[in-house]
Every structure is written in structure tokens, then in C-alpha cells.
């Protein structure tokens, strides 16, 4: 349909040359990869923030080490390091335990790697957000007899989200753009699809720009979604009048 539209508009030189499905597949791969790693990194971030704010040094020190080391090293270096070492470590583990050989596919290795890296960034975001919740809120919740879990779920978490959202949005944008790097470790994402299509049609420039536009579309759409979420979580708060 898209092709016939281009033909009738006289834009035949912008034809996808049958690479449309490949590009769509690549886009879907990019979206899947970034959403799953976002989920993993948010979970890791919440755990890490909890550990960093804990009073026990056993939890605090490893969490501090995790955020400092991961955020100090470029994501691509970590990606290559973890991605290529993951299989070796897993084989050593299965050998030591006497289990069967487990092979991890590139996709889950990519999700684990990205999730682990961006978990460190989310840890810092959530730590800052939790610290921004006024102390009196937790004290009031304790006074009402809420348990630890209830305090977090009903009092700290909803308020924390408001402070965390701009940070989450930023991290999401960085994470999404970082998924472009997974083509370097051999995953068939949008960049890889665009490169393949461009190389076989000798229209590398066109297909790369197309890929860039698809990324632009995703980042713009997520900007809109984030603005909506920020409004929703800001309910009941008032901005200072200048």
C-alpha cells in the first residue's frame, strides 16, 4: 500500500525496495528491547535505591560501588564486556554446578546487559526522588500504623514518582538511544536493518536517514506520553507563581 502510494505520488525513488518488512521488524526489535530493559532497569533501580538508602553497610556499600562503577564507564564498553563474558560466566557456572549447558540468545543477553547498566542510572534517580519526599509524610504514615510495605506502596511511592518522572524520562531517552548500539554486538535491530537495506540497494544515506526519523518518531511519542504522566503525577501539587 505504501509502495503504491509512493508510485502514484511520483516518489518512486523513495521506494523501500521491498525492505519495508525488514525495517518494521528492526523497529519492533528496538522497541521490544528498550521496553524490556527499561522494565529490568526500573526494578534494579528500585532495589538499588532501597539498598543505597539502607542503614546497613552490607547493602549500602555494594550499591554505591554498583552506581559509581557503572556510571563511570561508557555503556558501549560495558555492553561488550558483559555481552561477551556473560556466556563464559554462565558456562563456568553450569560446569561447576554440574548442570546442562545453557546457551543464552543474543536478545536476552542484550536485555540483561542494558537493564544492568541503566539500573545504575535509575538507582540514582530513585534515590534522589525518595529523598525528596518530605520526612513528615513517612512519619505520619507510621503514626497511622502502616507497615513498612504499606508505607512504601501508599505514601512514598506515589509522591516519589512525581520527583522521579523527569529523571525517568531522561533515562528512557538515553536508554532508547543506547539500543542503537546493540547492532554492534550483532542484534538485528533498526540500525542493522537500515544498514543491510542500504548496503544491498546502494542507498545507504536514504535508509540511515529513515532509521533516524523512526528514532525521532519514537522519542517524540515518548515525550508526549511523559508530559501526560508528569501532569497526572503532579496532581495536587502547586507550582510557585512567578
Amino acid at each position: 500500500m505504501f509502495e503504491t502510494l509512493l508510485q502514484t505520488l511520483g516518489l518512486a525513488r523513495f521506494s523501500l525496495k521491498g525492505f519495508g518488512p525488514l525495517l518494521l521488524e528492526g523497529t519492533w526489535m528496538t522497541i521490544k528491547l528498550s521496553l524490556l530493559s527499561l522494565l529490568l532497569s526500573i526494578v534494579l533501580g528500585l532495589i538499588g535505591a532501597g539498598a543505597k538508602l539502607s542503614s546497613a553497610a552490607v547493602l549500602r556499600v555494594p550499591a554505591q560501588l554498583y552506581t559509581t562503577l557503572i556510571r563511570g564507564v561508557p555503556d558501549l564498553v560495558l555492553m561488550l564486556l558483559i555481552f561477551y563474558s556473560l556466556q563464559t560466566w554462565l558456562s563456568q557456572l553450569t560446569d561447576a554446578m554440574g548442570w546442562d549447558y545453557i546457551e543464552i540468545d543474543a536478545f536476552s543477553a542484550g536485555v540483561v546487559t542494558l537493564g544492568f547498566i541503566y539500573g545504575a542510572y535509575f538507582t540514582e534517580t530513585f534515590r534522589g526522588a525518595i529523598l525528596s519526599v518530605p520526612r513528615g509524610q513517612v512519619e505520619a504514615a507510621t503514626a497511622y500504623g502502616l507497615s513498612r510495605g504499606q508505607r512504601f506502596r501508599f505514601v512514598v511511592f506515589p509522591q516519589m514518582m512525581r520527583y522521579a518522572l523527569p529523571g525517568i524520562g531522561n533515562n528512557w531517552q538515553v536508554l532508547l538511544k543506547a539500543t542503537a548500539l546493540v547492532s554492534i554486538i550483532g542484534l538485528a535491530d533498526l540500525v542493522k536493518a537500515a544498514q543491510d537495506a542500504g548496503k544491498s540497494t546502494y542507498q545507504l544515506f536514504y535508509f540511515l536517514v529513515l532509521a533516524a526519523l523512526i528514532y525521532l518518531l519514537i522519542t517524540s511519542a515518548s515525550n508526549v506520553a511523559l508530559r501526560w504522566a508528569e501532569r497526572r503525577y503532579a496532581a495536587g501539587s502547586r507550582e510557585a507563581q512567578r
Partner: protein, 236 residues
Amino acid sequence: MIELLQEYWRPFLYSDGVHITGLAMTMWLLSASIAIGFLVSIPLSIARVSRKFWVRWPVQFYTYLFRGTPLYIQLLICYTGIYSLEAVRAQPLLDSFFRDAMNCTILAFALNTCAYTTEIFAGAIRSMNHGEVEAAKAYGLTGWKLYAYVIMPSALRRSLPFYSNEVILMLHSTTVAFTATVPDILKVARDANSATFMTFQSFGIAAVIYLCITFLLVGLFRLAERRWLAFLGPAH
């Protein structure tokens, strides 16, 4: 591990005998792109906050494009995309510029960091205290003098914390340079890895070097903040 270090410490730090490689190359990429980005972003950030729509809009569009797409794709477009165009290869000047991987890489990096830096500086100009500008106007400063003596010095100082973040992010972004065959630290690590199969050690050394540069930059920026942002600190 020891053999790996003995064999590869030189390329990791400065040279493989023929070319500049490793740390020296990474620092060159970083400083060149940061310097170009900084110089270009100052006029652009002033244009970005202009009240005139047709001055503001092109800059806004530029930052939107470069902040919304991954640097890796920008580099690919600069390095392989543009050179695949017939029109570029036909032009001798463009041909010689885009044939060199180094030029393409620095161009892509400078364009990218310039977009982020422009937004940082524009934000700082926008959050300028209105009293400060009014006082400057009362002293008779107008036009470029207002910007050169009052607005920019103040805006650049206040954007220092955000700018330091951007420089460190740029350091981390220089790692994609190896995809354009530029021999930076990561390229050496990959070569070491494929020659020795010591994956963890090869990339681990690269990670440690990057970590050291990051800490060094953080320390330098902390010193700079102590000097230029002293007026924001608690009163003595």
C-alpha cells in the same frame, strides 16, 4: 593478564607505532568535539532564546533533530551515508573531507554535543535573574555588550554543573568512534580481545582507563565549580 598489559600498554595509551591510538586518540576526539561544540553553541544558544520566531525556530529544529536521534546513527550517516551519495563524491573538496574517517567522526560528535550544549546554555540564559539584566540595561549596556559582559558570563557559570555532565557523557559517547575505524581506547581493546581471547581482561582494561578519565574530569569540574560558582555557596 600481565602479558596482555606488556603487549598492549603502548597502543592503549598513545601509539601503535604508526598512528596515534588509545587514550591519546580518545582525548583528542573529546577535546576537538567539545571545543567546536562549545564555540558554536554560544551564538546558537543566544539565537535559541530569541524572541523572533524565525531566529529561534531553525536552532530549535536542529537541537530537536540531534537530541532525538542516537549518536551512532548520526555517525553512520556522516561516515558511510554521506559518502555513498554520488553528488558528494563528485565534488573534490567534499570528497576529500568525507573520505577521512577522522573528519566524519569529529563532525558527527561536534554536531551532537553542540545540540546538547546549546540547550544547556539556552536554559541558563532563560533562567537569568531579571534584576541582573535590568541593572545592566540601567548602566547603558545594550546589544552584544549586554551579552558579552553580563548575560553570557553569568549563564556560562550557572550552567557549569550541567555542562560537566555533558562533557562526561561525550567522553562515554566517543566509544562509538571505533565503528568508523578510528583507533580509540575501545578499538585497541577489541583488537586485544580478538588477538588473545581474553575478553574480560581486554575490555576490563579499557573500562578502567575510562573510569580514570571520568574521575579526573569530575575532579577538574569540581575545582572549576569551586572557583566560578563560589558566589552560590553559603555566605561566609
